[in-house]
Amino acid sequence: MSTRPARLIVLVLAAALGGCAGAQPPRPDDDPWEGYNRAIFAFNDAIDTYGLEPAAKGWDWVVPDVAQRGLSNFFDNLRFPLVLVNDLLQARFHDAAATTARFQCNTFLGGLGFYDLAADFGVPAHVQDTGLTLGRWGIAPGPFFMLPLLGPSSPRDAGGLVADGMLAVYPYFVTIPGLTAGLGAIDILNRRARVLDQVRDVKAASLDYYTFVRNAYVQRRWKLINGEIPTAAEQEELYNDEVFEGYLEEGQ
C-alpha cells in the first residue's frame, strides 16, 4: 500500500503551510489570499451556474427522490475506508466500531448501501475526513483557500483531500472503462441535486455570496473539530451587544 508515505507527505505539507497552533479561535474574516480566492470562486460559480446546476436540475426532474436518496446512501457507504481510517487515526474507537457496523449492515442488509438501515437502528453516519484528523491533531487550518472546482478549503483541508482521494473506493476501478468516470459523474450530479434549494436560498439571502461561503466554511470546520460549544471569549465577541452602543458624528 502506498498510503503511508503519501499520508506523511500530506502531513508535512499541511504542517508547513498551516502552522501548528490549532487552539486559536476561528477568524472567518482573515483572508490574505482574497484576490486569488475571489477569482477562483467566480470561476467555480460560473461553472456551477451554467453547467452543473442546470444538469442537476435535469437530474432532479428525471430521477425520483427515493432513488436520489438511495444513490446518496450508496456513495456515502463507499466512503467506509476513509471514515474508518480517520476514526482510528483520531483514536475514536467507538466511532470506528459504529462505522464498521454501519458498513456491514448497510452493504449486506441494506442492498449494497442503497438503504441506510443502520441509521434506523440508531447508528447514524458521522462527518469524517482527513482534514478533520489533521485538525484534531492540533494542526491549524491556515488561511482560507478556494480550490478550483472543489470549492472552499484551507491548506490543511486541501492536504486532507489528497488523502481522502486515495482512500476512496471507486477510483481504483479505473481499469474498467467508464466505470470510475461514470460513477464519479453520477455522484457529483446527485450530490448537487440534493442541495438545489439550499444553494438557491443562500444566493438569495446573502449580500456577498463569497463572504457567506467563507464564513460558513470556517465556522463549520472549526466547530466540527473543536465542538459545538463556543468558548466564553467567542461568546463575548459574538453576543455582547452593550459594547456596540454610542454614535459617532460625521467626521469624528
Binding site: 456515502d76 436560498d201 438569495a204 439571502a205 449580500l207 463572504t211 457567506f212 461568546q235 451587544d241 456596540f244
Partner: protein, 211 residues
C-alpha cells in the same frame, strides 16, 4: 480576577440563570425551549394549511417570527462595531430592512413544505444568561436531517431569539462578516442601499416553479 474566582462567578451566574428559568416556569412564562417549540409548531401549522395562499402564509409567519425574534438585538449584533457609525434613523432603517431581508428570502419557501418536523433536543445555559435550545429539523432521517440551535435572551420577561446556528454556522457571525466589508468601504448608507436593492429584487422575483 483569578481563574478560579472567575469560574465561581460563572457557575454562580449560570445557577442564577437556571433559577430564573425555574421562576419563569412558576410564573407561567414560556421557557426558551417552549418558545422554540411553539414557533416551530405554529409555523408548520401555517405551512400545512391548504386554505391559505402564499401571501397569507407569509404574512402569518412574519407575525409569528416578530413574536419570537428580537430584531433590535439581532440588528445590533450583526452590525457590531459599526453600530456606532449608524445614526438613530439609520439604525431604525437598518432594523426594518434587515427584518424585511430575512422575511423576503425565507418567505420564498412557504410553498415547498415537504413535511419536515422539528424535534427539540435540549437546552444549555450560556454566558450572559442566554440559553441555547438545540433542535433537529427532521427531513427524512440520516444525513438529510439538519441540526439547528437557537440562542435566546430574556427581554422584558420574555425569551426571544437572538441567533440561529445551522449545523454550527451562526447567522449573526455570517451576516456580520458580510456587512463589515460593505460598511468599511461605503459606510452605513452603502449597506442600507444594498439591502433595499436586494429586498426590492427579491420581492419582484416570481416564486420558484412547483416542480
Amino acid at each position: 480576577m483569578t481563574k478560579s474566582s472567575r469560574g465561581t462567578w460563572k457557575r454562580a451566574s449560570e445557577t442564577l440563570a437556571a433559577l430564573g428559568l425555574l421562576a419563569g416556569v412558576a410564573l407561567g412564562q414560556s421557557t426558551p425551549a417552549q418558545v422554540v417549540d411553539s414557533l416551530a409548531s405554529q409555523v408548520i401549522g401555517v405551512l400545512k394549511d391548504a386554505a391559505l395562499d402564499s401571501d397569507q402564509k407569509r404574512t402569518r409567519i412574519e407575525a409569528i417570527a416578530d413574536e419570537a425574534i428580537d430584531f433590535q438585538t439581532l440588528s445590533k449584533l450583526v452590525v457590531a462595531r459599526n453600530w456606532a457609525k449608524f445614526s438613530p434613523p439609520q439604525r431604525q432603517e437598518f432594523e426594518r430592512e434587515f427584518r424585511r431581508h430575512l422575511s423576503v428570502t425565507y418567505g420564498r419557501n412557504v410553498d415547498s413544505y415537504k413535511n419536515e418536523k422539528v424535534q427539540i433536543l435540549g437546552e444549555r445555559v450560556e454566558v450572559r444568561g442566554d440559553v441555547t435550545v438545540h433542535s433537529k429539523l427532521l427531513r427524512g432521517g440520516g444525513s438529510e436531517d439538519v441540526l439547528v440551535d437557537y440562542r435566546l435572551r430574556q427581554r422584558d420577561g420574555q425569551w426571544k431569539i437572538i441567533d440561529v446556528i445551522v449545523e454550527g454556522v451562526s447567522l449573526v457571525s455570517n451576516f456580520r462578516s458580510q456587512f463589515q466589508d460593505i460598511v468599511a468601504q461605503g459606510g452605513p448608507d452603502r449597506l442600507l442601499t444594498l439591502l433595499r436593492e436586494k429586498n426590492a429584487s427579491g420581492e419582484s422575483l416570481a416564486p420558484p416553479p412547483p416542480v
